[in-house]
Every structure is written in C-alpha cells, then in structure tokens.
Amino acid sequence: MPFEPKEPQKEIKYSEMRIYTDEELNNYTEEELKNFKIKHDIPDLEELEKGPWPSFVSDAKQGALHRRKLADDRMLIDRDVIEDMLGQLQVSFDEGETHWKHGGIVGVFGYGGGVIGRYSDLPEKYPSIAHFHTIRVNQPASKFYNTDFLRTVCDMWEYRGSGLMNLHGSTGDMVLLGTTTEQLEPIFFELTHELGQDIGGSGSNLRTPSCCIGKARCEYALYDTQALCYELTQYYQDELHRPAFPYKFKFKFDGCPNGCVASIARSDMSFIGTWRDDIRIDQEAVKAYVAGEYVPNAGAHAGRDWGKFDIQKEVIDLCPSKCMAYEDGELKIDNKECVRCMHCINVMPRALKPGKDTGVSILLGAKAPILEGAQMATLIVPFMKAEPPYDNIKEFIEKVWEFWMEEGKNRERLGELMQRFGLPKFLEIIGVPPAPHMVKTPRENPYIFWKEEDVPGGWSRDIKDYRARHKR
C-alpha cells in the first residue's frame, strides 16, 4: 500500500539534531511578554493584537522577545530582524506603500529557483532586514508532518534565519522568510544533508507540485494523489530546479471533482480524480438518510434550521444533469447521464460512493490574471488511468511541455499559448483528437480556418480560368 520513496528516507530525531536547549526555547515569561515593547513604535500593529483571530503581530512579538533573550552566539543573523520587520511594516502602513525593493538574483548553486531575493529600501533605518531573502522548502505531499521534522526546521531556521515562516505559501511550499545571502548555501546544505529535504520551485520552473489529502483521510479520493504528486515531483526534479521553460508551470492533484486544492483554477496541468463506472448505492443507507437517521451533507450544516432532510429538494432537484430519481423508496441514477459533480455523494456519503473504475481527468492551462486575464483549466483528457509508474501520464506531460517549450514566448503560460494557437491547432500538435467534451458549446461564429489540404484542388487557382467562366 505505501508508495516507496526512490531513496531511503533518513529518519530525523530532534533530540539528536537540536540546537537549542529547552531553557533557551522557554527563555521568557508570560509577564515579560505582556510588557514587551519592540524597539520601534508600532501603534497600528498593536491594534491588530486585539480581536479573536490569531494575531500575527502577537506571534511576531513573542518571536522578537525570544530572539532578544537568546545569547549572541545562538543565532547567525541579526537579533533584531523581527523587530525591524515590524517597524518597517508600520512605516508601510503610514506611507501606504511597501518598502521592499524589487528582488535581486540570489540562489543556491546549480538551481534556478527556490530562493527569492528580498531587500529593504530603508536599510539605514532597518539594517537587520537589509537582506531578507525567502527560501521555499518543498512540503511533503498533503502537508502532514511530525514534530521531529518541524522542530528541527525551527531550530535550523532560528539559528540561520529570522525564525519567521509561512505554513504554507500559496503554491504549497513551507516558506522560510528572511535570511542573508551568506546563509543561503549553509541552509541548503543543512536541508539536504541533515533534513534530507530539497527546496521548491520559483521563477520559470516547474513549481512545487501539491495535492489534496487524498486517500490519507478522504473517502472521495479517486486516485492516489500523494503518490502521483510525489512521483512526478521526484521524476521532474530537473524541471523543478533548472528552468528550461518559458515561464512557471504548475501541477496540482485533486482527488475528486470537489477540487480541494483548486487545481482547476491554479495549475497549468490539473489532475482531477474521476470514475467511469456507476455510482455505488447502498439503498438501506439512502433510506436512513431519508428517515433522518443519518445526518445529511456529512454534518456540514449545523446551528440553523433548514428543515427535515428532503431528498427530492436537496439531492434530486440539485443534480446538474437531472439524472436521479427517488421512487418507491429507491434511489435511481441514470449513470450515463451523470456528470460526476459529487453533490449527491457529498450529501449522502454513507449511502453513495463513486464507482471503482477510477482515474483522472486532465485539464490544462489555468492561471491567475497576469498577463492576459485569468483562465480556468480546460478539459482535455476525459479519463486516464493513474497507476504507477504513471508512464501514460508522463508521456502526456512531456508532449505538452515539448509544444510549450518549442512555441511558448517568454513569460507565456501554457493557457495563453493555447489561446494564441487556438484549441484545434493545439490538439493537433499534441496529437489529441478533438472531442465535444473539450468545449461548453461548438463555435458560434462560422469563421473556420480551413487548411489547404482540407479542400479538393487546393488553393492555387488561376484568375484566367475564373475569368474564362466569369466576364469582368
């Protein structure tokens, strides 16, 4: 059942790896924290300590105090980084403008991405964040961790960086925020040698792939999202670290059409689990839902009276293809009309399960607005089996990349290139036959770009022949 990593994974024991003692980690009191003021005046930020939602300011302040109380030799970059960061943030509020310079090119040797340069444009005022680079660490698939790993990262990052991080960045990486240029290589060496852990993508690379929780804890997972995500991440390490692409490229892996990792909106190549046989129905469980014995929609509605569960209104009538009926105590599904939207399954997870002949739909070309407007991913491959070693998927990926690397302009995302070429030509180039599932509707305009070989006799004609038949 478990997918085996290509190389054995070194086990990490925090007790063996740690830098800081327990005393160092608990080097301030609650009382000290309450009275703590950072060196800059940050009235707007302190306002953000109020209210119930976790305050990033309060958190940052505890980090700042912790750093203040560490011994000089227990950190390799400036003690004041967090305080200066907060101070600069207050100035940004005051002036309504950011104070980070346009990034510079920094990185680790041999890699084209994973590190993002960041410099303050107020270095005299906030010297400790004059250099404040970001390192993207490739998260494990679906973001499960153990504390040995996390604590080890924390110690390393407190020692060699600001101790500030994102769990997680928008693409999925664990993001380490703020260190100096000098520490980039040492951190990379610590990550690889001690943590057995690589950094992620940035720039015109394959970006760090990410996946939903999948089979780890979801009954809807229609393929092994973690396994596929891990396999492709490993298989395409070169594309991740050494850019040969016109621009960034994202894979994301959703286990079902519910789309929890947003692959359809956020990845150049979106893998979404699907099935091709019939939805499995447990009629007894359906009756239990109808009778009110099971809570509908997996209990996701609560605290408001929506009335008794009404299978007609809540399931049958909301089916987008109207392929269901509840008659004589039995639920019927006309599966050939089903568009697998998941609603009925979501509402009655104990009664309905997707089919067992599963695979992925592959959609291409999603992106955010820059440059030509946002795109959602377009359905190209309706159904593909997704089993190790995933050769069929890799072959498809490489066909798409080949086209994109050949034809893509600088900073042109796949979706934009598809638009520029048009879907028919794109399909022809990647060798996929056209099919109606790729479009919402056939074209409305009759402006078909016929090719010369489509037309008997070709396009070369002689005006003399024409004029022989038609006087001017």
Binding site: L164, S170, D198
Partner: protein, 395 residues
C-alpha cells in the same frame, strides 16, 4: 547527526560542489502519517463534521480518526510552530497536518482523546488576547482566509495582506466557528493582480489594486532594465521607447491606456506603481472551484475600489459583511454565493447587498462582449429605473 553550528555549516565556499546533494525532492509523505492514517489509507468509508471544526472519518475497518481543525495565520514564528509541536506531541503522537487553506489539523484516533485536545486548544491565547488555535473552519461556514505576503515580504503589493485578513477574520469569527451559512464561503486575499493567491475563483476575494500608472525612473531605467522586455510586458501596448532630453534610452507610457496590472514593474524595477492615494482594494465575489452542482466559475468584481484604511480596513470589512449577510439571509441550502447571485440575477445581487453598481464593474477587456446582456430577461431595480429616468423613458 546534528544540525551544524558552524557559520557556514557544511558549505565550503571554496568548493561549492563539494558534498553537494541535489534533487532530493520533498521528504516522502508516508512517514508523516499517524498510524491510524497509514493503517486505513485508501479505506475510508465516510466522514462527518461532528461540530464546527471537528471531523470524524470512519474506515471500512471500523477505525476512526478525529480531526480538530484550527485557524492559523499562515505567517508564524518558530515559537508558534514549536507550540504546535508541543500540542501534537501531547495529544497526537507527534503528528500534525496543515491544510491548503492554512488551517492546522490535529488528529487523534479516539473520541476520548478529543475533549482534552479541544479544551487545551481553546485555552491558548496570545498575550494580546487573540486565540492561538481557534477551532472551526469546516462545512457551511467561513474557513481560513488564504492570502499573500503584502507589505510583510513583497515588493509589488497594492495593499497589506496579513492586516486585512486579521481585520476580516476578526469580524467573521462567528462564521468561522459555526456552520449556519447556506454553503461554504471561501474568502481569499491577494495583494496585487499577480495574484500569488489565485483568488480569482473565490466566493469573496479581496484584491490589492493600483490606480496610478507607473512612474518612470528615467535616470536608471536603461541600466537596470531590459527596455524591450518592459515594453513587451504591457498587455495593452501602452509602453513605447523614448529618449530623455539628455539622449538616454527610456520609455514613455500612454497613461490613458494603462490598466494598472503592474506587469511592467514586475519586469522592470524602474517603473514603480505604488501610491498611497492610488492603491486600494477591489472586492470580487461569486467564484467557486468545486465542480459540485455548478461548474467552477470566476469571481466577479462587485466593488471597484476601497481605500487602504490601515490597519483595520473598515470599508472593506463593511462591504464583505454586506455581501455575506445578504447571502446568508437569501440563499438556498447548498447554494454557493455565485450560484445565488446567478439565480436571483446580478441586478438583484447589488440591490440585496446594498452595493452601488458603477461603470467600472462592466467588463471592457478582451472578452467583454460575452458579458453583455443580450436578452430582455431582467428584473426591475432602482438602478434600472435610474436609467429609464435618465433617458426620458419614464418621468
């Protein structure tokens, strides 16, 4: 085995290639699954949200795993992460998970372990008074607001992210901790049109927005930028080559064509856009990602611009609440915000939310024609009567 204390660690600057390990990829996921996950991988039968923020997943084997979901600012210090680890060690055998929307999930394999865990989480507060681990973010409520770096760590933002998200999340805290909305509402935030946060398919999206064309730093542009790349970066062709009076190469910009996308600045640091008066926030609404019931759809711009009123963005909070309240009151069960707006008609959306409709909300970009209403099917609203009056259609 231990982390290095040397200043340069294992790195030898004289021989960077020495002992270099590359292309390891991420650590393998399997080792981070708690035993109940490993044992039931691929065997889950069904799940249920027991109460806001608490889920149970039941395996075909009968095993159960209980999950407590907590909100988190995705921006964290190592101290906070260590506290997460402390909790994970105490209750969860040292395992913890993060969701795509920056929630923290603590998993236990029996109901007995649940109560102590929840009580502990609820008890932890920052000294300022905010919760460290608020429980919620499940089902028909508002879950964690994903966001970008803003002023904390980005060079192109048109607003700040963490502060706006804190301000909104404080106000929507009840919706985070409950599930009485018609369906889930995904709120997302991106601090400029680059949208690292890809907020374009969110129920409610907050987007930082510039409104002044770039300033040209003529003195340095030819040294610090590839001018042809800067020109090519403009999607509307507003930038063209020029020379300074001194004959240096620079660019000129047709300001009236600019749509403030900032792509030129991304390509060329000598073209900054940020401006206190120009920058602000746009609200989009009605997007979704799921294929459930209706296909995924883009969010639509429903409030063209609100000021960057740091630190609590009262105008943004007000309009988000207007939208959320109108939706909560009016939508059907299971109906996402965008499906609701489509069912009632966008003209009614503006009426019910009490939002003004301005010319900025009418598409005039590339695919604009497809958004024009080519039908007589519409509902009368005050905005329609205004038009009728303005053209002498009615008195």
């Amino acid at each position: 085995m231990a982390l290095s204390l040397e200043r340069l660690g294992k790195y030898d600057p004289k021989d960077p290639q020495k002992n270099r390990l590359t292309d390891l990829g991420p650590r393998h996921f399997w080792q981070y699954f708690p035993p109940v996950i490993q044992n039931n991988y691929g065997n889950w039968a069904y799940h249920e949200v027991l109460e806001p923020g608490v889920l149970v997943h039941v395996s075909e084997t009968g095993d159960k795993v209980y999950t407590v979901r907590c909100g988190g600012a995705r921006f964290m210090t190592v101290q906070h992460v260590r506290e997460i680890c402390e909790i994970a060690d105490k209750y969860c055998d040292g395992y913890v998970r993060f969701t795509t929307r920056n929630n923290i999930e603590f998993l236990v394999d029996s109901e007995q372990k649940l109560d102590a865990l929840k009580k502990d989480l609820q008890s932890r507060k920052f000294v300022g008074g905010s919760y460290k681990f608020p429980i919620g973010g499940t089902g028909a409520g508002v879950t964690n607001i994903v966001h970008t770096q803003g002023y904390i760590h980005c060079h192109t933002p048109a607003t700040d992210a963490s502060s706006m998200v804190k301000a909104i999340a404080d106000e929507l805290f009840e919706e985070f901790q409950s599930m009485h909305l018609p369906a889930k509402v995904r709120v997302s935030m991106a601090c400029c049109l680059n949208m690292c946060g890809a907020v374009h398919c969110s129920d409610i999206a907050l987007l930082g927005y510039h409104r002044k064309p770039p300033i040209i730093d003529h003195d340095v542009i030819s040294q610090v930028c590839e001018i042809p790349l800067a020109i090519a970066a403009c999607p509307v062709g507003a930038i063209s080559p020029d020379k300074t009076p001194e004959g240096k190469k620079t660019v000129k910009i047709k300001n009236e064509r600019c749509m403030f996308c900032g792509n030129c600045y991304t390509m060329c640091q000598a073209l900054p856009l940020s401006d206190k008066e120009g920058d602000g926030v746009t609200i989009l609404a009605g997007g979704k990602l799921s294929n459930r019931i209706s296909p995924p759809k883009f969010s639509k711009v429903v409030v063209p611009w609100l000021p960057n009123n740091f630190p609590r963005f009262p105008e943004v909070v007000r309009d988000v609440k207007k939208i959320l309240n109108a939706y909560a009151q009016d939508a059907n069960k299971y109906e996402r915000l965008g499906d609701w707006a489509e069912r009632i008609g966008w003209e009614k959306f503006f009426e019910k939310c009490g939002l003004e409709f301005t010319e900025h909300l009418i598409d005039d970009y590339r695919l604009a024609y497809d958004t024009w209403r080519t039908s007589t099917q519409f509902k009368y609203t005050d905005a329609a009567w205004n038009v009728s009056k303005a053209v002498g259609g009615i008195d």
